[in-house]
Structure formats: structure tokens, C-alpha cells
Symmetry: C2
Subunit: 441 residues, 2 copies
């Protein structure tokens, strides 16, 4: 223990101060309580996965962003001569394991691997860190949390309604004003077919998805480059933006009914809107899709999800339909912090801080502390520098509600003065410890 | 998403089933509640640290067990020609970051780095995974949780008393029968000095530490190899094994008083014993040390800790004394599981499962489910295969308390039969939903 290095966490990672952890826990606990109320159970998978499990699941760009763990011992021993020095060729010999990139591929592996130990429909949630070797920048980290709830093995649309309700209930509990947008991938497909678009669908969808940023006029001019006619583009606009959801039932019967079922069965005060132009980037969605945004804040999506039909296939599992939602908890934190939505009491420390004025009364103050704790009251004794008034900063930083200073007088008389730290005033004078306990319980 | 690979988590890592996560959370939550009651606040540090931060802190053996993360991009570009192919020389060019090996070195870094944002004495706890490239074997994992509480910046022995109380309170709450052993590194030193041992102390301490496994006679014969006389060995035995703690005050005044202060100030039903022969492996302890063992089970230590004086020095921080304890939560889990100490209700799923007997009553059953949830009752609707009786397995596996099967009759009459799943009997007949809600709340 002699090397002296500058204390610094790696770029793209974060340390969390106690107040930050308390706020993050408030978000996690709120979400967990709603997940549990709807019958979702928590699972955990390791941070480390075999690279074989991760590679090829996130596209070429994703593969580059996987953190790879150097094999132990003489890791060069299996590298063939022609791969030595060539990162592209050598990696598979140098690294067998990597850090998980999301919680979805581990879920697919888990479901196939443990299919005999779990029951279907499998309703699980998972909250935990994932890692991506992205270039760090404001709001983008190499280590960040994901928070997912999924149902595997049920095609019922009731799942979609329940997930919509979970979104609504969580954001209501967090006190956030949000809009939940719903759409269906099959509707997009049906609309494109309807106006005679059969080629380059993925590119066209990606183009339509830009409407959020560049307005429809910009999208339209890009669409003409795909050889779409003015008529087609106008019709597309009408189908994407000018219809209420129930109208699609006549035109696109089956997917229209799906959408209608979802939109007419939830029951919430939160704004849920159908939005035919919602695309969501990810290829693997095959049915309903969601996106949540915070109203009145520039923050992008704070939640998203959808139905996917081919999740477990990649691990040789029988094909099971899945549907799930994510909470973008890093952004939810930022929104709540910016709008001051965290309740004050969540960062609160112990109920009372006992402050011995000098060493001679420390034992006495400690005895009081113990009595309070035995009565179930959270309490601390201050063991720092009282002469330098450090106990005030201590109590305020830790958001401790009450403070009791103890000196020779208090020790002799047993009369304790209770100071309300938050309100910066004396709350009572002349409490005995027996009177103080019921007052603080 | 076309590669097909065998679903398997890496050796030395674990997936956790919902029931296991629930049991682990019970342990975590119990410990956290006691930490908070005593004024400890939770922090978090990243899984990834700079290798510069980790290397050289755990000895040569520890350095070998660090998981190192391959740099991104063309990681070979900085490797000098003479290091290429030589793992010992090349690692520092290939990997800048690694996975944390424990929570203690990150704490030291954190305290120095954030010293202006935290208050001292700094009382923090941290529960999270750490990684070691150990050979996996039964009960030893490459990814496992640590759970630490430490106080940085206070030399008061009251901290030692409080940490002893925290151990006692946690194990009492977990329902575990344990022994908390206490000793002091300075006492070991004073005893060795007293009998004239000044050379090769560390080796001699390591030898004495074997007494747990090979009995004193074995230790004695090893000690003779250090040129200790029969008289010295006998005297050593007497000082280590045949004295109550208060006797040391006369012989080794200052450390004797320290031990006496700790041993006479806690107040618990849990067995706390002074044990002069307790050594604890780690070099960096400089004062009080603890070890906790479970009574009546062969499991080794399930907790340990101590006071250390030089923690923050390695990061250039001013020297602050620290003292802390760890809970060996992986072993605590094993002991509790073996002795069946987990309360039944902690793995409980939702309160009630609604089971529609066919598709025609699904909407009705879902309406009931929603009504229950709106009343604050956790509820699920079963969307799996009812004809194959899968709902019974589902309810039992998820430890759901009640089940309500819904068919055409129930839909028409509104009369619901409540089945108690745990007790496998009918609990009531002919509830309306309005009657059911207050019954289940």
C-alpha cells in the first residue's frame, strides 16, 4: 500500500454521494413496488457474460462497444502468429468474457437456460448496471442502469394493457407529467403496403422517424428520393397523423383491433396517446411499441418498449413471444432533479443526533443514544470536532431532523433540549430521556 | 440475431431465480435498515476502476486475480515490440481499466476524491458485487457481493462499540445464532514483545492463526522452528488463551483499556467474546479486529472487520483512521438456507391470482384484476394455459396466496370463490368483488 495515485474514477463512470443514492433508490423502489403489484418478480444475472452470448446481437456498432475482459494468466498463448498485433483478429483469443451490454440478451439466455425452473408466462423485472464503451459525454455514461419488465410466453393483449398501466402508475407515483405514446409495428407495415411501398421499408421507416426533429416537410423531401409520388407521400401523412385510433379498425382490421383493444382498456389519469408515426429504432419489435416523454422538459425518451417475437430463438429456445418496457432511469433522475420532484424526506438521515460537548460527557451521551435506538429510534452520536462547530454542518448535510447537545448540565440534571435542525429552532426544553422517546417515536 | 449458441452463464458467476433474489433482498434489507438506524449512509462506486487505482493494493496474488478490461479500438497500438506476446509486460498497454476487487480500495479513493462533498466522521455503507479471477469452486465465485460499513475520520472507541452492536442487531434480526469474536492487533503485538519476540512477527502471527485448524500442539511445533523456547511458547499460550479480557489492563495498560471499554459497553443478547488468539489475515488492521462465526454450522467466518490507520494514504489523502465491518452475505445466505431461517412470507408473490377459464371471460377477469389493484391489492391475471392446469403450478411456484377462478357462472352471478393456495382449501364462497376487496386488503 505504498503507490500513490491520483484518486479518480474512470471517465464515463460515476461515484454517487449519499444524497444521490437516496434519490436513485426512491426511483428504484417506486418502480419495484409497482412491478410487484402486477406480479413481476425480480431476477439477477451476472455482470459478466461469455462473449459468445453477447457478440452478434447488437449489430457491428454494438459489438465494438462491448467491454471485453482479458483472459487470465498467459492470455497470449492461444493467439496464432498471424493474429498477433492485429486487434480485429486477436480479440477472440484474448477475451472469452465481456460485460453485459443490456438486460435483454441476458434475459433471453436466462429464459432458455432456466426454462425448467421458472413458470410461464414468465414475468420478470431486472434493474442493474450495463456497460458500453461509448465515447463519454454529458448524460452518456459507459456504466449506467437499465430497468426492464418483460413477459415471456404470452401473446395476450392484456399484457400490453397492463404494461401501459404500469407506466402510468409509476409516473403518477413519481409525480411526473408524462405522455405515453403507443403504436404498433404491424400498423406501420400495413400503412406502407396500403400506399404501395414494398421496397426499402426499413430505410423509409427510419426516414419517417426523423419527423420529430426535422418536421414533416423535411421528411417529405427525403421520401421523394425513394421515388415516392406526391400522392403517396400525402396519403402517408394522412394515415400517420390525421386518424384517431379507432378508425384503423375499418381499414387494417386485425392490427386496428389490437390497437383499439389496448387504447380502450386502460384506466388512468396519465396522458396515453396513440401515435401512428411512432417508430422506435430497434429492429426486433414486431407488435405494440411504446415511448414515454416528459412534458415540459427537453429530455428525449424516458421510457420505451414493445412486443418482440423472436427473443429466445438465438439461444435455441422454442419461439416465445415477449413484450416488455424499460424505464430510462438515468434520465428520469435528471428530470426529477431539474423539476425538484424528489420528496424531501427521502434523503433524511437519522431522527436525532446526540452531540457531547466534551469528552467527559461522551459516555453519558452514548448511553442516551443507545436508549433511543433500543426504543427503535434511529440515532447517532457525533464523534467529530464539536469545538469547531462541525456538528451543525454534519447534521445539515446528513439531513438529520433533531439535535440534542449534551454537556455537564444536561448530564447532571437529565434535562435535554431538542433542537429542530431543519427548522433551525428549539422544539422543546427540559425533556427527560423518558419523555423524549415517545416524542420522537 | 441468427447465431445460435448454448445458453450458459460464465463459470464462477450465477443467475438468480426470483425466490433466490427475494431471499437475498431480505438479507440486504435487514442489514441496510440497521446501518441506517446507526447513521450510516449508502454510497455507490462504479464496477470499473482504473487499473492504476487497483494494482499494488492486494499483493502480487491479488494483482493476478484482477479482471482487466481490454482497451477499446486498436488496443495493440501502444504495445512495444518487445512486450508483444509477453503477457507480463504487455498488460499495462492493453488494459487501462479493471473490475473492482473489493469495496475498500474504492472507498479510499472515494473519500480522498470527494472529501469536500462529504462530512466527517464519514459513515458509509456499500453493498455490491466485486470480481476476482479465482479458480471457481463450490462456494467460491468470480462475481460475488460484499457488504461493508465503515467510519472514516474518528478514533473514538465508541465506533467500535457501535459496530459490535450493529453485528449483534443484524444477526438477531436475521434469527441467526452467532458468536462475535473481538480482539486487538496491538494486543497481539504487546504480547509478542512481552515474551521477547521481535523478529519475523508477521510470520509468527500467521502461524498462530493456524490454531483454528491444527490445534495448539501443531502450532507449538511450528513455533519452535522460529527458535522460540519452550518457556516462550508456554507463556504465549497462557497469554493468548487463559486470560479474561479485563486482566490485560494491568499488564498492557493502554490496549487493555481499549479492549475493556469495548467489552463493557455493548448491550446485547448475542454472544460477544474476547479472543486474544484471533488474528485476521489482513495486514492493514492496526487496532480492534472482529470475526463472526455461525454456531452449530461448519461455515468459517460470516463477518469480519477491524480498525486501520492508513487507508487514505495511498491516494494522497491526509491520514485518517478508519474502522469497519463486513457481512459475508454469500455465506450468511447459505447458513440461513441450510437452517431454514428465511421467513415464508418474503418469497410471496401477489395476493391474488385471477384465472379466466376461457377466452370469453378474459375481459371480465381482467376487469376484476384492475378493480383489486385500484384498491391497492397486488393481483395478477393468469394468461397461460388453463386447460392444462398450469395455473396451479403457476400460483404455487410464485407463492401466490389466493386464487379466484372465473368462468361463465361467475361472470353472470358475480359470485367469486376464493381459494387459499398455500393451505390448499377454499376460503370462502360467494364473495362479490365489493366483499372481496376489504377481505384481501
Amino acid at each position: 500500500m505504498t503507490t500513490r495515485v491520483k484518486p479518480q474514477n474512470p471517465k464515463g463512470t460515476r461515484d454517487f454521494l449519499p444524497q444521490e443514492v437516496a434519490k436513485r433508490n426512491f426511483i428504484f423502489n417506486t418502480i419495484k413496488s409497482v412491478f410487484r403489484k402486477y406480479g413481476f418478480q425480480e431476477i439477477e444475472t451476472p455482470a459478466i457474460e461469455r462473449l459468445e452470448t453477447l457478440t452478434g446481437k447488437y449489430g457491428d456498432e454494438g459489438d465494438k462497444l462491448l467491454f471485453k475482459i482479458l483472459n487470465s494468466g498467459d492470455y497470449f498463448k492461444d493467439v496464432p502468429a498471424d493474429a498477433m498485433g492485429n486487434a480485429q483478429l486477436a480479440t477472440k483469443y484474448l477475451a472469452e468474457k465481456g460485460l453485459r451490454y443490456d438486460l435483454t440478451v441476458p434475459l433471453a439466455r436466462y429464459v432458455v437456460q432456466h426454462q425448467d425452473d421458472i413458470v410461464f408466462p414468465f414475468k420478470r423485472f431486472h434493474i442493474g448496471p450495463v456497460w458500453r464503451a461509448d465515447r463519454p459525454q454529458k448524460g452518456r455514461y459507459q456504466e449506467f442502469y437499465q430497468c426492464d419488465a418483460d413477459i415471456i410466453g404470452s401473446t395476450s393483449l392484456i399484457n400490453e394493457v397492463e404494461l401501459t398501466m404500469i407506466y402510468a402508475e409509476v409516473f403518477e407515483k413519481l409525480g411526473m407529467d408524462v405522455t405515453i405514446k403507443v403504436n404498433n409495428r404491424k400498423l406501420i407495415d400495413a400503412i406502407l403496403n396500403d400506399i404501395g411501398i414494398t421496397d426499402r421499408k426499413a430505410e423509409i421507416i427510419a426516414t419517417i422517424d426523423k419527423a420529430d426533429k426535422i418536421e414533416w416537410s423535411g421528411v417529405a423531401s427525403l421520401l421523394y428520393e425513394f421515388n415516392l409520388s406526391v400522392d403517396q407521400v400525402d396519403k402517408l401523412y394522412g394515415l400517420l397523423y390525421n386518424q384517431p385510433y379507432f378508425q384503423y379498425k375499418e381499414q387494417f382490421v386485425s392490427v386496428g383491433e389490437e390497437i383499439d383493444f389496448i387504447m380502450s382498456n386502460f384506466n388512468t389519469n396519465i396522458k396515453v396517446v396513440f401515435n401512428a408515426s411512432l417508430m422506435r429504432g430497434l429492429d426486433y419489435y414486431t407488435g405494440t411499441i411504446w415511448e414515454v416523454t416528459a412534458n415540459g422538459v427537453q429530455m428525449g425518451s424516458i421510457g420505451g418498449g414493445g412486443r418482440y417475437d423472436n427473443l429466445t430463438e438465438m439461444f435455441g429456445g422454442q419461439n416465445m413471444s415477449g413484450v416488455g418496457i424499460s424505464f430510462g432511469i438515468e434520465r428520469i433522475y435528471d428530470v426529477m432533479d431539474e423539476l425538484n420532484l424528489f420528496p424531501n424526506n427521502i434523503t433524511q438521515g437519522v431522527t436525532v443526533l446526540l452531540v457531547p460537548r466534551d469528552a467527559a460527557v461522551e459516555d453519558y451521551a452514548f448511553g442516551l443514544t443507545q436508549q433511543l435506538r433500543q426504543a427503535g429510534i434511529s440515532a447517532e452520536i457525533f464523534l467529530g470536532n464539536v469545538k469547531k462547530q462541525k456538528h451543525f454542518t454534519y447534521a445539515e448535510t446528513k439531513n438529520i431532523k433533531y439535535m440534542v447537545e449534551v454537556g455537564a448540565n444536561e448530564k447532571e440534571s437529565g434535562n435535554l433540549r431538542l433542537r429542530n435542525v431543519t427548522e433551525r429552532k428549539e422544539e422543546g426544553n427540559g425533556f427527560t430521556i423518558e419523555q423524549l422517546i415517545p416524542y420522537l417515536v
